[in-house]
């Protein structure tokens, strides 16, 4: 599990881009034995700028494997951007980056 997070300031707006490692199983696929692979996907994403929630997202299994995300929020160089996710099995991960 790992997250790549980048935030770049342009005219007072942070362009936040993230790439998360996650299988994002839909629950529809079957393995080689014909048994269904249980759904396993990121259901909640929180993006904070300087410890304040800027954008939160709810996801379903229709998001691609190893999800990519790009959003923007007001901010400046040096701001602390934090991304956290939780999946439907209760696993979670988070990372921080400084806005450039």
């Amino acid at each position: 599990m790992a997250i790549k997070l980048k935030a770049k300031e342009k005219k007072g707006v942070l362009q936040i881009k993230a790439l998360m490692n996650h299988p994002m199983e839909t629950g529809q696929r079957k393995d080689s034995k014909g048994e269904k692979i249980p759904a396993h996907y990121i259901s909640d994403v929180v993006i904070q700028v300087n410890d304040k929630d800027a954008i939160t997202a709810n996801w379903g299994a229709s998001i691609s494997k190893n999800p990519y995300l790009s959003v923007s929020a007001a901010g400046k160089k040096g701001d602390k951007v934090k991304l956290s996710w939780t999946d439907n099995k209760g696993e979670s991960d988070s990372t921080e980056a400084e806005a450039k």
Partner: protein
């Protein structure tokens, strides 16, 4: 969801259904009460497009030309379809993305907090050719726009 807005939504959906054509907004679709709550996790498990739209309060959403969808017209690989939804509207609180023909149509709901711009970009899985539907909530109204994306290789078979 409040019962009153729900009823209004049913009425306007009939009109919107004519405009939208293609039976996407089917009037009189089965809508169970249990789908009306604010339970987001449940909304993502709905296997019916109309129910999913209702669950995010977009049953009565008006089509809008102010929503920009940036997505390929033809996706060679349905497993990874890049989609960007943005709008110049004021007071946007939510941007949702749906893939009408997917087994669970609701793909993502982005909640825009303080300072957030009305833009969201991600990559979606698409099982087959379908409309990608964007729903933008601005103020207390919902607006929608859609784009058909042709898929040559499905994304749900692995």
């Amino acid at each position: 969801m409040k019962r009153r807005t729900f009823l209004q939504g049913t009425l306007s959906a009939s009109a919107a259904g004519l405009a939208a054509g293609a039976g996407l907004l089917t009037p009189g679709a089965v809508m169970a009460d249990s789908h009306g709550g604010g339970d987001m996790a449940a909304a993502f498990k709905l296997d019916n497009y109309d129910a999913a739209m209702e669950a995010i309060g977009a049953k009565d959403a008006a089509e809008s030309g102010d929503i920009k969808i940036k997505a390929p017209e033809i996706a060679e690989n349905g497993a990874v379809v890049p989609v960007t939804v943005s709008t110049e509207m004021e007071g946007v609180t939510q941007i949702a993305m749906l893939v009408a023909a997917n087994p669970t149509p609701l793909a993502a709901v982005f909640n825009m907090g303080e300072g957030a711009q009305a833009m969201a970009s991600t990559r979606l899985k698409m099982g087959k050719t379908s409309d990608m539907v964007a729903v933008v909530k601005a103020g207390d109204k919902s607006f929608t726009a859609k784009q058909e994306i042709k898929v040559t290789i499905g994304g749900c078979g692995g």
